[in-house]
Subunit: 459 residues, 2 copies
Amino acid sequence: MVDTTAVLGETLKTLIENKKFSTIRDMLETMNPSDIAGIFQDFSDEKLPVMFRLLPKELAAEVFVEMDSDQQELLIRSFSDTELKEVVDELYVDDAADIVEEMPANVVKRILRQADPEMRKMINEVLNYPEDSAGSIMTTEYVSLRPKMTVQEAFKRIKRTGIDKETVYTCYVISDDRMLLGYVSLRSLLLADEDEKIEEIMDPNVISVCTTDDQEEVARAMSKYNFMALPVTDKEGRLVGIVTIDDALDVIEEETTEDMEKMAAIMSSDDKPYLKTGVIELWKARIPWLLFLMISATFTGIIITNFEDSLKACAVLTAFIPMLMDTGGNTGSQASVTVVRALTLGQVEFSDVWKIIWKEIRVAVICGITLAVAGFLKIFLIDRMLMNNYAVTFPVEIVICSTLFFTVICAKITGCTLPLIAQKAHLDPAVMASPFITTIVDVISLIIYFGIAKLILGI
Amino acid sequence: MVDTTAVLGETLKTLIENKKFSTIRDMLETMNPSDIAGIFQDFSDEKLPVMFRLLPKELAAEVFVEMDSDQQELLIRSFSDTELKEVVDELYVDDAADIVEEMPANVVKRILRQADPEMRKMINEVLNYPEDSAGSIMTTEYVSLRPKMTVQEAFKRIKRTGIDKETVYTCYVISDDRMLLGYVSLRSLLLADEDEKIEEIMDPNVISVCTTDDQEEVARAMSKYNFMALPVTDKEGRLVGIVTIDDALDVIEEETTEDMEKMAAIMSSDDKPYLKTGVIELWKARIPWLLFLMISATFTGIIITNFEDSLKACAVLTAFIPMLMDTGGNTGSQASVTVVRALTLGQVEFSDVWKIIWKEIRVAVICGITLAVAGFLKIFLIDRMLMNNYAVTFPVEIVICSTLFFTVICAKITGCTLPLIAQKAHLDPAVMASPFITTIVDVISLIIYFGIAKLILGI
């Protein structure tokens, strides 16, 4: 795939300077909304409204959805009421709700005033669901059918109302009191006889979620079952909306970013693109964990201070502290990331705790042996032979290598159990895959190190 | 969403014991293929084929696709040739190719022998594309239309051939020599007049990928443009297949797991579920990085050994080594993970390097000041006042806090530039978000620490 967006952007800029507006319009019409929004991102605040007005009505709304909220706000402020109405009328409800959520109150008021009453009602409905719930990402525009309709009547209904619906490929069958009875795909409608009744061809085994379900759970369900859309019902089982696969994909991308940030000790910030995020915002997202981890390091400090005399007696031990701590931290986070990922993908749950610990212990034993042997050889070859550091005596080597072995085992057990405990305690397991675990393992490895040193070296 | 799968699994087991096979069949028919595969996972090798034979033909194939490869192999070995043919005939080409890839040679031969000649040809075609390429995840079953067809003729074609196609919702318009001319959605076909020509309603601005493009790039494009399917062409622009959104979702999940594993210093293993991965496999995936990082720690050892006399002169400095190294590592990986994620989501590229460094320097300065001030207070309050550790004199405090400040700045700059350099050098940026960066920052922070100590304390 060749990235032509940058080239097109340059061409457009030249065309604007030469005021070739009809050429620009023709060019834009052939382009994808998401690419146009990408190009518009580099435009100045004066140029943007001019360019936006060149877009045909329907495309304009699609491009608008793809723009970032700063630019959306700028455009809304520059719109006349008629222009605003035109854009809002073309939006899908879930997109409109997303946009409204990001706008300041006075802009929200203007948007809602321009929306027609039904749209306004639907936007408000979606806005009322808790953030990160199925309700907040659903759209209320779907095709509903009745069980007694014939296939022919269903097609008529789809043709009449389908133009405004986000998807027509899955239609939902509801009773008179809006209870969800089943679903029928457009494909099976196409392949059915015209006179067949919907209730004969619909699939009554429909998997649905509740408006209050977590959006991540919804996205995982869609990914697991390969669904293009998932119906959302209220607590009584009445159909209130659908979540479409494009929104589920966004949720997965968003949650992945959050998990990775947690692993790097970053507090979740909002999902602005990196270059648009302010310096203070980045600082706010990063400093809390840094402070917390720095203060926690007091414990490692206390341990080292307590063993200051041992270190004086055998100064060479200090040189291996970073290696032992890092190896412990690395083995620990390997175990925790593996378990966190398995939890996210639904491969394991808390009841598997003993199976997981048993597996990690076995892995730890062979990892520990490998590292101890390799560490022994490395110290012998590099520190003793190559660098003539004879302070690393044979007993010191034994201390270091046995510390390696026991640290690896403790680190793996800690690494695999903490995320499971977090999950059980309804905390986020991903936080446990963070440097948090490194800090805990640091303390463990130092205690093991000095304990073994006292035992073997008698210091 | 209530998890009823476990309950259903128990019920099924009781029903099998009581040999209520017709009840089982009725129950299974109402369930989702992916859930059935989940329940089958716990069944013994003897029970599985019995249960599988209870499934109606079409559902059987869908369940088969969702099972893991060990169980698929077991079933294939227990199938008669006729049974195997029935399942293979119902598979989509991309699923069949996925299954064939995981099987041992003799099983592959049996599968290909049972597939009809056209299917065999298509499977072989998909198998020939490089792993992780668009060609390897595409299906060759799609609906193709001709520009001169009318809408009515198009519907006839969809009804005749659509039952075997993975998606009928986007149809691709091709010329006589199979060049991709445009696409038309089933929705626009439905809303168009029966006599309109396809070339009048098709969208000629179709975004396509090449068979050799990276699968991750394909998945990102589908997510960016909100496509349900993306056409795949050969180098000459002839349509050879399509990638559907469900496969793109799988790719994103897979790549996310790989990225997280890299961040935790795990070599990518195959994507088996955790509990199914053997101890030796886990060891193989984890030990290379652990060994490499342990050996790299030689550098921190060398630095500490070189400054052994300074540490003897001022023993209290040792106690702060873990805190300084950890804080450096944490700030560094914050920057690198942010940049790696922005690269993955296409928010930044190498040319943004100066913008990124400038932003990180500003963040680093305020993070550094915050940490230095907090560190100063913490040492004063906890170490001096609370723990009466008077070895931490005022000059020592100054050494520690200024090390904090400079370490944070160096760590952030290293953290943000390394992934960009990796990307530029066509290496994987995610590896740079790994403990690898911690190891580099460890060395930097120790050099700064001892340098400042020498300067201020004159030791």
